[in-house]
Symmetry: C2
Subunit: 244 residues, 2 copies
């Protein structure tokens, strides 16, 4: 078996995860008050600083409303939480949430072409060469996970070429959510992909025409999106049948 780095979850991490789960699972709804820090520390068997650190991280994610002297209350994460919460929502309790996966690949399909169009407008020769090299590496690889890593690297370069800070940060957030789930998703995604559409997209970006690039990107993303959505649909009907 392949050796893996041992995971050492810190105390505040554990507290954070617990409180986060309470919030996103709905056990603690919006507006509900949290126990005081001292009380939480006592209940969880940890020190107050540990609790504080966890709560501060929750606050940073806009999940809590902390008022000096008053009570700490839960905010509505659907209304305020940012994209950085996505990883926590995607894989919760060890398994991936299919509805969240669906929304991620949907977003990928809707945004990718736009980014490709920008990239075509602002392309430079060096990046296009990198894109070509990445496609070759992708084509030469056989392992689905490894191939998916190459597609990630490819889109990373496209985002670079688009020269947009907003899309860069968006991509980073999505990748952070995507990568942990990659081993599960890779086989399905890989089934819907081949190297040719990527080559076409590379040429389109090189050509500099936004509309061509947009169409080419759509042809890259559409097949794997469809296969994944179909797989998710099958999975849903399967589990709902089991529930009966």
């Amino acid at each position: 078996m392949p050796l893996q780095p041992v995971s050492r979850r810190s105390v505040p991490d554990a507290v954070f995860d617990q409180v986060l789960d309470e919030v996103v699972s709905g056990a603690l709804g919006p507006g509900e008050p949290l126990p005081s820090e001292r009380r939480l520390a006592e209940v969880l068997g940890v020190s107050r600083p540990a609790v504080r650190e966890a709560l501060q991280r929750m606050t940073q994610t806009r999940l809590l409303d902390v008022r000096h002297g008053g009570t700490t209350t839960v905010r509505d994460f659907r209304k305020y939480a940012g994209l950085d919460l996505l990883p926590s929502l995607l894989v919760r309790g060890g398994s991936v949430d299919t509805t969240v996966v669906r929304s991620v690949v949907e977003a990928r399909l809707l945004i990718g072409p736009g980014v490709a169009a920008l990239a075509a407008q602002r392309r430079d020769d060096a990046t296009v060469a990198d894109l070509s090299a990445t496609v070759s590496a992708y084509a030469a690889s056989a392992d689905p996970v490894e191939r998916q890593r190459h597609t990630l690297a490819y889109w990373d370069l496209v985002v670079d070429a688009a020269d947009s800070l907003t899309f860069r940060l968006m991509f980073n957030s999505l990748r952070a959510a995507y990568e942990p789930a990659l081993p599960v998703l890779a086989p399905v995604l890989d089934a819907g992909e081949s190297a040719r559409p990527y080559r076409v997209l590379t040429t389109a970006i090189d050509g500099g025409d936004p509309d061509t690039a947009r169409a080419a990107a759509e042809r890259v993303l559409r097949p794997s999106t469809d296969t994944l959505l179909a797989a998710l649909h099958d999975l849903d009907t399967l589990t709902s049948r089991e529930e009966r």
Copy 2:
């Protein structure tokens, strides 16, 4: 003058802001080591817990790499930071960064139509009614900032209708970056907008056809995007002329 709530920046907040600025300004490049927590506390004249809290928040934003027993080093925020960093990058040192604004409105133009298309597919009567009501409120308002708030509420509803967690979180992140800059941007954006395109978009979403909704959304966003980009361009040429 209108009274404003006094701002009570906490000690860790102040430390966080300082360290963040060091990182995003490039004064501390990727890979460079940070002083030890004890040393930072001494230099900044605060306690170690205060420093720790700030560094933990930096770590949560994927801006630092902290290793137990080892040195804390700076990560490349362009490569790892998520969309939640956008507010910090948009308004830095009191003024808005024009290149960041450009990328935000670009992203808005590229993503909005896709979300509208999804919303058309998944619309329900209640949301459409809310959309109509919001447009009316928008049309009835005269103050640019207030009108922009109504457009925000409108898109909030569109995102709701799209029923996509990913786009929901994205929208939340963008709004968090957008809202503080609204007083500055509102007059420019308002100049390029009217109520009619919003009414057309509402009808399109109600109709349920994705392509129609996409086109309508583009017609909503295009004018204000163009006027804002033009204004930014003028601003850039103006300041670069001043520099000579």
